[in-house]
Amino acid sequence: MSINDNNKISFKDAIESGKFAVTCEIGPPKGAEEEEIKQAAEYLRDVADGINVTDLQSSVMRLGSLTTCHLLKDWGLDPIFQMTCRDRNRLALQSDLLSAYVMGIKNVLALTGDYTTTGDHPNAEPVFDLDSVQLLWTIKRLEEGFDLADKELTARPSFFKGAVVNPGADTEEAYELQIIKMKKKIANGAQFFQTQAIFDAEVFKRFMDRLSAEKIKVPVLAGIILLKSEKMANYMNKFVPGVFVPETIVSRMQAVTDKVQMCIEIASELINEVKPYCAGVHIQALGWEKHIAAVIKNSGVK
């Protein structure tokens, strides 16, 4: 079944129009089914301008990003194809990019990918034939009509190209390296950025001030994770690379029994605080997609 919602503008148009954009995320299931995705997609239909589909998130084997993007496209939504460098060499990456374009997928998010040992197949070979900057460069090359072997393509793809950056790097070196790599990503074609999840608006503001000082004008969508419990916060602080939940937020969550209400409160507060500084937000609901509409409504951004 194909539902085409022609009234909806694309993610690219939403960003380019300058309106406050909302992207959400779907993590495909670990199984040969589409029901779970279909349900999440319905929750997101009216709130998201674009929907990221994670690519074997956290190095856990599951249904693929490309196929899931294709389903979303069929259902009238605008998918953002997340592509990591962990599992495919340059032949497979280029081929999947051509496949994505042919299936009508127009947004790509280029990522390095978590290391193999962080997931459920720790014995797998880590590929990393390209890095995220080289992947963006590869996409640019395909758009110019050539592959990485300089062979001419019979037809060129064209993508809205995104990348990620971590505004909360915790050492001076890591912070500077994030800025440098962001500039390299822009130089190689990145047209928008989604950030690693933030829980501290001050950290995000400092980062955006730095970008202004550096005259970096590429649209940035602030990463927001829906926090479900204090347990989840502690887990992320301990095990999720690059994500940090401040103690004040952990204790607020700890103090209440209605976790859903507190989750909506924390997320909408954050969105309100970061709104003046960015082009939009990227909300990762991690299974709580049905609460995103309440978060958006509560924050008053739409």
Partner: protein, 225 residues
């Protein structure tokens, strides 16, 4: 013996195009045996670079450039010349460039590509620090190899997985890119991090034909003892 080969002359000229004063340093170990080192090779490079208008501040050969203490001791008498140089051009395997970079506060340009450790390493007992990739870029990364210092082998900077300077793969392991950043900062060369490095050429890591023909390769052939 570690097998190295000369980088193409144009690549070396390009690497040092902004440098006027160059100190040439060679390893007297493996490169001598591979004919990619020795006084003759170093002096030929001196003449070649002088013809290009470069000022050669010194030419020195040290027995084993993979030994930091040896480099430190032998270069003590050359510190003025090195201090007076824009960069060093090094004839050694990747280990030698890394060891020299660790003790000298100047950009160290590799003049050679390391092809294989070929069975016997010089004085260094490990092979983990040089990936024998055949396409050395240690001058761009502060003398720290991103192939061996970063588990993801990233060439264009850090991922976002580090925490307090440690790698996402192992909290005991330093983030290789933070080490690279620190090393380049120490020698005032942060701008090198902006160089876009193209994907690695995996053809270059195949064992060279001359090695495959040698006894170092022929484990399975019976030899008369």
């Amino acid at each position: 013996m570690i097998l190295t080969e000369f980088k193409p002359a144009e690549e070396i000229i390009e690497k040092i195009k902004d440098d006027r004063k160059i100190f040439i340093l060679g390893c007297g170990g493996c490169p001598e045996g591979a004919n990619t080192g020795g006084k003759k090779v170093l002096n030929e490079m001196k003449e070649k670079l002088e013809a290009e208008g470069k000022n050669i501040t010194g030419v020195t050969e040290i027995d084993f450039l993979c030994q930091k203490s040896l480099i430190r001791a032998r270069l003590r008498r050359k510190l003025v010349e090195i201090e007076n140089s824009d960069s060093l051009l090094i004839f050694s395997c990747g280990l030698g460039v890394q060891a020299t970079s660790a003790v000298i506060s100047k950009v160290c340009h590799p003049a050679l590509n390391t092809k294989t450790f070929g069975g016997i390493t010089g004085m260094w007992q490990g092979t983990e620090r040089c990936d024998t990739c055949g396409d050395c870029i240690l001058d761009l990364t502060g003398g720290i190899c991103p192939y061996t210092a970063c588990p993801k082998k990233l060439l264009n900077g850090a991922c976002a997985g580090q925490s307090n300077g440690k790698c996402e793969t192992d909290p005991q392991r330093d983030c290789g890119w933070e080490l690279i950043y620190k090393s380049l900062k120490r020698i005032g060369q942060i701008d090198r991090l902006y160089t876009f490095i193209v994907p690695r050429d995996y053809k270059k890591i195949l064992p060279p034909a001359e090695l495959r023909r040698s006894s170092l390769w022929a484990l399975d052939e019976k030899e008369v003892v």
